[in-house]
Structures are given as C-alpha cells and as structure tokens.
C-alpha cells in the first residue's frame, strides 16, 4: 500500500531531494540512504521538497533527526520546503519548526543557502 519514491537534483550550491508518496517505517530507509550518500559525497546544503509527499509517520520524521547534527556540524543544513498543510501539521505538533527551517517554496530555501555561504562567494 505504501508507495514511496524520491529523486535527487543538484541545484548549486544545494542538493534537493524530492519526496513522493508515503514516508513511513517501511520506506524511511530509502530516504536515510539518500541522506547518507549525500553526506558521503560531502554535500551538506540539503533541501527536502515535500510537495508530492502525502503522508509522513514518526519513523519518517526520525530520519531528519538522524542527520541534522552531522549536517550542521559541517556548516550545512537541511531545509524543508513545500509541505502540504497536513504534513506541516505533523511537523508542527512535534515542534519541528523550532529545529528546522521550513519554507513554502524551494527558492526561498535556495536563497537562504546562498546568503549564508559567504565563503563560497
């Protein structure tokens, strides 16, 4: 029943992960692997686009918690964009807006990354 897919885009200076479908305990390892590959490749400016994500469970939320510290200690960030109100509600209930930057659209997040990387410019 739980259909899930993700794809990765490179939009310098960020990597964008597009999520699609249901992110739950069964599908969370896929996202985990995508994050791991990014960290291995030294990509720490990560945007996760939720536009096509229908549902997220607690196990799905856990994936973000697993990597955020690593990413931030490497002067990067995971920014979340394009959440539907329902998905946002799940993040909001848990207080994730206190911990993650959540934007309506990808460009805002992109700009934020560009502004905050003076060392590149």
């Amino acid at each position: 029943m739980s259909q899930f897919s993700l794809s990765v885009r490179h939009t310098p200076p960020t990597q964008v992960i597009d999520l699609n479908g249901f992110l739950d305990a069964h599908t969370a390892p896929q996202l985990e692997q995508a994050f791991q590959e990014m960290l291995n490749a030294q990509h720490f400016n990560i945007i996760v686009n939720f536009r096509d994500l229908a549902y997220i469970s607690s196990a799905g939320l856990g994936v973000f918690m697993a990597f955020i510290e690593d990413v931030r200690s490497n002067h990067g960030d995971i920014k979340l964009v394009g959440m539907s109100p329902k998905v946002y509600n799940v993040f909001d209930l848990l207080g994730f807006p206190m911990l993650y930057e959540i934007y309506d659209d990808e460009h805002q997040a992109q700009r934020k990354f560009i502004d905050s990387t003076p060392s590149i410019g």
């Binding site: 939320l61 848990l94 207080g95 206190m98 911990l99």
Partner: protein, 704 residues
C-alpha cells in the same frame, strides 16, 4: 468342471498347503489299507476297479485347487520358487534310491512280488504323490510371476491344462479300458509333451534374472544346473522299469503326468541356466545400478527425516560419495552473495586439495565452480592434475571430479562434487544418477529450511505473545476515580505489541497525573522504548511538582541517550480535584480534546517532542496550561492512531470527525466508558473494518 467358478469367486477358501498334503496322506493311507484288505496290491494295476482309480483323484483335488488360487496372494520371488521346485524334484529323484537299497521285486503283472516290496513301493509312491502337485503348483507360480495381466492368457491356460492333466491323468484309462491302458498311456505322454513344450515357451520369460544380484545369479546358475540333473532323474523314474511300476500303483496316468512335469522342469532349468549365464557379464554393472537406485530411495527417506541443516549436508555428502563409489565428496553452498564449501564431518579429501579441484580450469576458462553455476548441468573434469597428498604414509590422489548444480526452483543454491582417484571415473549413467541425487539434496535443503523457518516463526510468535502480555501489564489495570471525576483508558496495539502508553502517576504533592504517550516507530522496537519510558516516568513523577517539570525531566533523561532517529510524544495532565482543574503540558503529542459547557475544541499548549531537542530548547518551548471544568465536562486524550485511522479508499478519519464524535457522545451525557465505545464504533464504521497501521489509545476523563 468347477474350475471356472473357483476362479470367479476369490472368496472361495483355497486349501492351504498342510491341508492339501494332509488330504493326500489320508488318501494314501486309505489306498494302502484298501489294497491290503482287498489284495489288490498283488494284482496288475491294469485290473484296478473304478473306485480304486478314483481314490487318488480325491487326494489330488485339493492340491490342484491350490493352483487355481489367485496370483496376488502367492507372489513370491521366482528365485525362491525355483529353488523349492529343484529341492522337491531332488527329493523325488533321490527317494528312488531307496528302491535300490531296500528289497524291491515285482512280478510280470507289474505288481510287487512280496509284501515288503509293496510297502517300499507304496512309500516311494507317497513321496511322488506329494511331490508332483507341489511341482505343478511351483511351475504355475513361476509362470504367473509378473504375468497376471488379462492380456496374457497363456499362463492361465497352462494352469487349466495342468489341472486337467492331474485329474484326467488318473481318470482316462478308466473311461476307455476296452482299448487298453497302453494306448491311453501314449495319449498321456503326448499330452505331457504338449504341456512340457507349453511350459518351455512360458519359462522363456526369465526377465527377472537380469535384476538379480551377482551372487544370486551365480547361485541360480548352480541351482539351474542341479535342476537339469534332477529333472532328468525325474524323467528317468517315469521310464525306468522298476520305478515306473511304483507310479502305476498310484494310477495309470500318473507316470505320464510326471514325465510332462519333468520335461517342463528340465526345459525351465535349461532356460534359467542360459539366462543366468548370459546375465553374468553385466552383473557388476547391474548391481551398481541397483545400488544407485536404492541409495536414491534411501536418500529421499533420510533427507525428509533430517531437519538439522548440518546433519543434512553431512548425510548428503556421505550418500553421494557412497552411491558414486567416489573417493571423496563435498558440497559448496550459497551463503548470501558468496559460496562456502562444506566438507562434511568426515572429509576424505583435505580442504586445500578441494580448493585446488574447485578452482580447476575447464573449457572457456571458467573454474569448475563457475562452470557449474553457469551451465547448470553436470560438469566432469576427467584429467585433474596436482590433486595429490599424503595420508598415513601413502600417496592419495584425485584424478576425476564431477560437479553437479543444486537447484531450488531454478535458482542455483550450491554445487555437489564427487571425486574419484581414477581418470574418466564418471560414465554417462553415473552423471544421470548424480543429477537425480543433486535434485534430491536440493529438495531436502529447501524442505529443511522451510520447516526451520516455520519453527522459528512459531517460536517468534510465542515470544511476541509473551511480550504482549507483559506490555499489557505495564499499563494500569484499574483507573482511579473520585467523587469529582471518572477515568477510562484503553490501548489497542496495531500488531501484537505497540508503542502507545498511558499511565496514572502521583506528583510530589500526591495529586494525580494522567499520561498518554506515543513512541516513534512500531512493533517490537517501539514496545521496548515504551517500557523504558514507563520506567523513567515512574522514577521521576514523585519528584516533580507538575506536568511541565515531569516532561522536562523526562526529556533530560531521554535526549541523546538513544538512537538519534528515535523520539516520543507525550501529554501529561495533573488533576486538582476540588477545583475541577487540570494542568496540561504537551510534548509534541496530539492536541487534547476538551468538551466544556457543551462546546468541543482542541487545546494545544506549546511543546516539542521528547528526545528531539536539547533540554534548554525543550524547556524554553514548553508551556503549561491550566483549565477549569464544571460537572459534565470531558477531557479526551488519544494517540494519533485515532485521527489517522483510514477508510478503505485511503481517507483519513481526521480531527474534525473525532471532535464531532466525542461532542455527540458528550452531549448525550455518556459515561467515559460509553464514550469510548461510541468513538471506536464511529471509527470502525468509517474504516469499514480496514486493518489499521497504528496503535490506538484513548484516555477519557469525565468530570462528575
């Protein structure tokens, strides 16, 4: 004749062997007494009256009937039957020697010349009387062996022929005494010849000889030779002057019949002798083939009995080695992505030699192992070199190896190797057997793993049931109540165990605390964390003054201590009875549903989930809310399994429907328990029995 009816009715009780023998002995005694009393013994047998001639017939009828017995009940190995035939004939022929030892004279009439001659003759006669039907029966059995199909009428006809001969052989001279017994005797000889030839024709069906073991073939060769000699001796009796007169005393046709049987036995023995002789050169090959077949059969039985994998591999190696008469065998099995070699408990070939052989190059530059995986059929390497080692002072070597793939459902799961110390050790026949053996092994491995899995699953389910019981006991069984409120709580895990948790605790000032929590993840892992949270809450609650403090302390205990991915949500409420007041703090949990003065709404004080944020951030974002209630108000705590319940078409139940359902129940003034029923009933109706993926917990507080 009644023989036909006897055949048609298998329920007819056929005489047993002792009964037939007994009947003949009785008849013989009657004959003996009759001849003495009447003095017939001193007269010519040609002058016997009809009663005297019919008496032996009575003796033969039970024995003749035994021949007509349906074949299924008397199936015996032809080798055994032939052995008995030969022994019987040997006794018959041997008994004639008595005539030479004891005084035996006869008159011109053919009658014994003295009383003692008569006694001797009659004693020989008894042996012949007993022997002949046994020979007949044996021959009938022999020709019926594996020849019972309706299509083959010949053995049946032979049976009838013998049956008639046994009867008519006695009767004919009586019917036609005017013509003289000699003419009829000739007729009986002709009949005997026909029956004998008939028997010879049937006895050519000696196909069973091919399948005898070599030792048995040699035995049969000797037996058939003996059979030829004794059959000749039996024939000799029928024409020998002295001895043939003895036969006359039984009946005029008896000698002729015995000649017919003697001819048949002679021809049968000759035929068996020839067959055994010609089968000898191939005896070794056939023995080996039979050994292979029986080892396959044994193997199938052994393998299905063995569930232990290592034992199974051991057995397979031993049997494959024995069946192929190999000098060593081993099995290479897939383990994950690689292959591991199993040498068995008693390896005959050292492991470094095995490695050399497995890596032996074959055509197309594949190793033997790769070739087997690639081609999926038997690979034979006939010229193995360098596989030599020393064992107990002698040099051992492997010269040829056969490798056969083990396939389960078309998937390659390993390879069976058999090695021999001579080059070209495997012929085409052996590779065929090896293939069959490999199929058996693969099937047994599959069988054992399926059973193993199901045993493990059953054990796991048992353990989960125990875990479920334990987890249930972590939840309070009786909820407290007071004049001011009524409490009801229930948790329904989606699988056997779950990650939802509710509890009642006492704060430091002895006020009552209500907790509901949801641990991230599902199933067994969530259940373990749930147990841990219970412990932490129980340890901390007595030291905390209010929900905010308890949650903050719980976060300190949980943050950073376990897997980063893990977190929990919790709502904690403190009841202050007299004031009908509740203090609520929320750590990321679902909003609490309130029904106050007929109005329903959710309250959602600020708060992060447990173990998500560092204590400072967590504490700074944690609010505590104080709400006063009046009699008839409700507070509904729940886990996300309720609003996230799904219908068959994937629709979520949602917060609005939950609020409406609770409000309706509240408006009806239901008890907490009745409200629980109403809410779950509504959700069940919505989800149409669709199994839910998440645990559902409901804690309802009703102010009295």
């Amino acid at each position: 004749m009644n023989d036909h009816r006897a055949h048609a009715d298998p329920a007819l009780p056929f005489p047993s062997l002792p009964m037939a023998v007994g009947a003949m002995v009785v008849v013989w005694i009657v004959l003996f007494i009759h001849d003495i009393l009447t003095g017939d013994w001193s007269g010519s047998p040609a002058d016997y009256g009809i009663g005297r001639l019919l008496l032996p017939l009575l003796g033969f009828i039970p024995a003749a009937l035994r021949m007509l017995q349906p074949g299924e009940e008397r199936e015996q190995p032809p080798f055994t039957i032939f052995k008995r035939l030969t022994i019987t004939a040997l006794i018959m022929a041997g008994s004639v020697l008595i005539l030479g030892i004891l005084p035996y004279t006869y008159a011109d009439t053919g009658a014994p010349s003295g009383f003692w001659s008569m006694v001797t003759g009659r004693f020989i006669g008894l042996i012949m009387m007993l022997g002949l039907p046994l020979l007949c029966e044996g021959l009938v059995r022999l020709f019926h062996y594996r020849n019972r199909s309706a299509a083959t009428r010949l053995p049946r006809l032979y049976t009838y022929g013998l049956f008639l001969a046994l009867v008519i052989g006695e009767f004919l001279p009586v019917v036609d005494t005017d013509e003289g017994a000699i003419g009829l005797g000739s007729f009986c000889y002709i009949l005997a010849g026909v029956i004998g030839l008939f028997g010879r024709f049937l006895s050519a069906k000696g196909g069973w000889i091919v399948n005898l073991r070599k030792r048995q073939k040699i035995e049969l060769l000797g037996l058939a030779f003996l059979g030829m000699l004794v059959a000749g001796a039996v024939l000799q009796i029928t024409v020998d002057g002295d001895a043939s007169l003895v036969l006359l005393s039984i009946g005029p046709g008896f000698g002729a019949l015995m000649a017919a049987i003697g001819v048949t036995l002679l021809l049968t023995s000759m035929s068996f002798f020839g067959s055994a002789l010609f089968a000898l050169p191939t005896a070794d090959a056939i023995d080996r083939r039979n050994a292979e077949v029986s080892s396959l059969a044994n193997f199938a039985r052994l393998l299905t009995q063995s569930l232990d994998r290592n034992h199974l591999i051991d057995t397979a190696i031993t049997i494959a080695c024995d069946a192929m008469a190999g000098n060593g065998a081993w099995i290479e099995l897939k383990q994950g992505e690689s292959y591991a070699i199993h040498l068995g408990s008693n390896p005959k070939v050292p492991s470094h030699i095995v490695d050399t052989i497995v890596n032996a190059r074959t055509a197309r530059n594949l190793t033997l192992a790769q070739a087997t995986r690639h081609y999926r059929r038997v690979e034979v390497v006939d010229n193995v070199t360098g596989a030599t080692w020393n064992s107990k002072g002698s040099v051992q070597s492997i010269r040829s190896v056969a490798a056969v793939p083990l396939l389960v459902g078309g998937e390659h799961c390993g390879t069976l190797y058999v090695a021999k110390d001579r080059a070209d050790g495997f012929d085409r026949e052996e590779t065929v057997v090896l293939n069959a053996l490999a199929d058996q092994i693969a099937m047994a491995m599959e069988h054992s793993s399926v059973i193993q899995t199901s045993i493990e699953r059953e054990r796991f389910e048992q353990e989960m049931l125990i875990a479920q019981d334990l987890q249930r006991r972590l939840l309070p069984t009786v909820m407290p109540s007071s004049p001011f409120y009524e409490l009801f709580a229930e948790s329904l895990p989606a699988s056997l165990v779950g990650g939802d948790y509710y509890d009642v605790v006492a704060f430091s000032d002895q006020t009552l605390g209500i907790l509901i929590a949801d641990v991230s993840g599902k199933g067994a892992s969530a259940a373990l964390y749930m147990g841990m949270i219970k412990g932490i809450i129980q340890a901390l609650s007595g030291r905390c003054a209010n929900p905010k403090e308890l949650l903050a302390q719980a976060n300190v205990a949980l943050y950073g201590s376990i897997d980063q991915r893990w977190f929990a949500t919790m709502t904690c409420a403190q009841i202050i009875d007299e004031k009908r007041t509740l203090r609520i703090a929320r750590a990321g949990h679902c909003p609490t549903l309130l029904l106050r003065d007929g109005a329903g709404y959710y309250t959602r004080p600020k708060g992060l989930g447990l173990a998500i944020a560092k204590p400072a951030l967590f504490d700074n974002n944690l609010e505590i809310e104080e709400i006063s209630f009046s009699s008839g108000d409700y507070v509904v705590f729940y886990s996300d399994g309720l609003p996230e319940a799904r219908s068959r078409d994937g629709q979520e139940y949602g917060y609005d429907r939950l609020l409406k359902s609770a409000s309706d129940a509240g408006a009806a003034g239901m008890t907490a328990h009745a409200m629980r029923d109403a809410i779950f009933r509504e959700i069940d109706t919505f989800s149409e029995g669709e199994p839910q993926g998440d645990d559902s917990t409901l804690v309802i507080l009703r102010w009295c």
